[in-house]
Structures are given as C-alpha cells and as structure tokens.
Amino acid sequence: MGIPSKDRIRAKLKAGNTLVRILLAHPMHTGRAENESGELIPAEFIQDIRCWRNDREVLTIKCGTATARNPYFSFQLVGGQQGDTIMIRWVDNLGAKGSVETTVK
C-alpha cells in the first residue's frame, strides 16, 4: 500500500443524472511491444473493472489488450444525489489490484 494510487475518479450531477469519469494509471502492455533493447515487454493489462454506487454494483467493464494506455471511461448513472459514494475496483492479468472512490458533487 506504500505507493499512493494515481487513479482518478470524478462524479458530479448533470441534469439529474450522475456523470462519472474514471482515469486509471496503468501501462496496458499488450505483450507485443519491444523495449529499447529489443526484448518483448510482457503483457500487463487491466482485465476487470467494477463500479459500485452506495454498495450496489452497477457496472462491469472487461478489457482486452486494446484498451488504450491509462484507461479512461465515462458514463452516466440514472438519478443520484450529492454525497453518493462511487467506487471503482480493478484487477489486471498479473493479479495487481487497485481501487478508488469519490462522493458525488
């Protein structure tokens, strides 16, 4: 837990709905790229992202290697009010995990 998470999440009300924006800090290596010395960089990518609103799971995103580096997602949740908790948890193919949460503004 020593390294502070660079994942970001923002949630705000927009015309009665909750707009959620997520930016995760992850290299998303596909396993086909080479580094400077010509060796293959092993695959390392986020596979599973889950989103909770107030302890209810609302969305699951499953990613392949073709999701861009530092994955960005935005979507809306129906309704919602200020102070709702929005939480994201992710797992990559090597078993690394992260989570980030915010309250709706």
């Binding site: 609302v58 073709a66 979507f75 809306q76 949740l77």
Partner: protein, 162 residues
C-alpha cells in the same frame, strides 16, 4: 540386496522432487490470475476474428446493422492521427441495455472491451481504445435480449497496437 535398496531410494527421491515442484507451482503467483478471474472470457478476448469473438460472448455472430446506436470513433470522426489512443463515444436511446461490446476488425485480437450494464447505467459511454490500422470499428449492444450493431470505418495515421 544393495541394488534393490538403491532402486527404492531413487523412487523415493523422484517422488519427493515432483511433489515439491507441484507444491511450488501451486503456491506461486502463476496460477493466481486465472483463479481470480475465472469469469474473464478468455476465449472471446483471444479470438482472432470478429465472428469468433461474438460467438464466444453472445452465441451469435450474425447481427444486422442498425442505426439505433450513435457511435463516434476518432476526433474528428472517422479519423485518428495516433492509433494508440482513439476516443470512442457510444450513445443510444435503447432501454435496459444489458451488454455493450466494442470490436476493432483489424486488431490482432478484435474484442476491445465488454461491458455488463445494470439499468442504473445510462449512455453515452466514452473511452479510449487502440487501433492497429485502418479498420472497421464495431459496437454491439444487447438490450432486452435483442442484438444491435453499428459499424464505423476509421482511418489511422500511426498504428497503435504495439
């Protein structure tokens, strides 16, 4: 007599070695992600054709094109300078969307992402994806058991699937 003893010893040593190797493999992190992510659809994400990926995920590959999905790829639309991060936006008035897929036909593995939505989630959905070369990009939505598909052609200056 001594020969027989030796033989037994060998069997014993062999057994011990294979048992400890097994234990090592089982406890190392190698097997962990598969166990954790048993629900990650490996078949679909490692399929090399759009049809195979759709079959693996939805059990059906033959979907008629439909204009009910508004689908934007690239900025300006249908064009991307850098294939390593191409913005996509999917909007639709469909209700009760259960699943949303994004596929890029010419990528080594076409399936980019698969979303499972609850009725609480509302489109538009936006994200960034990698596109290897000029290709058709496909969005598939499953809503109330029906499948809808929209296809867009995107021109890419620098391929981005390395």
């Amino acid at each position: 007599m001594i020969d027989k003893l030796n033989e037994q010893r060998r069997v014993l040593i062999k057994g011990a070695i294979s048992a400890s190797t097994l234990a090592l493999v089982a406890t190392s992190g190698l097997l962990l992600p598969q166990q954790l992510l048993a629900h990650w659809p490996t078949d679909a994400f490692s399929a090399e054709a759009v049809e195979d990926a759709l079959l693996a995920l939805l059990g059906q590959a033959d979907i008629a094109d439909n204009t009910i999905i508004q689908f934007k790829v690239g900025a300006p639309p249908s064009y991307a300078i850098n294939g390593a991060s191409v913005p996509i936006e999917i909007q639709s008035d469909l209700e009760n969307i259960e699943q949303l897929l994004v596929l890029v036909e010419k990528n080594p593995f076409p399936l980019v992402m698969s979303l499972e939505l609850t009725p609480e989630v509302k489109l538009p959905f936006t994200s960034m994806i990698k596109i290897a070369e000029d290709s058709q990009v496909i969005a598939v939505i499953r809503a109330e058991g029906k499948l809808y598909k929209t296809t867009r052609f995107v021109e890419v200056d620098i391929g981005g699937c390395a």
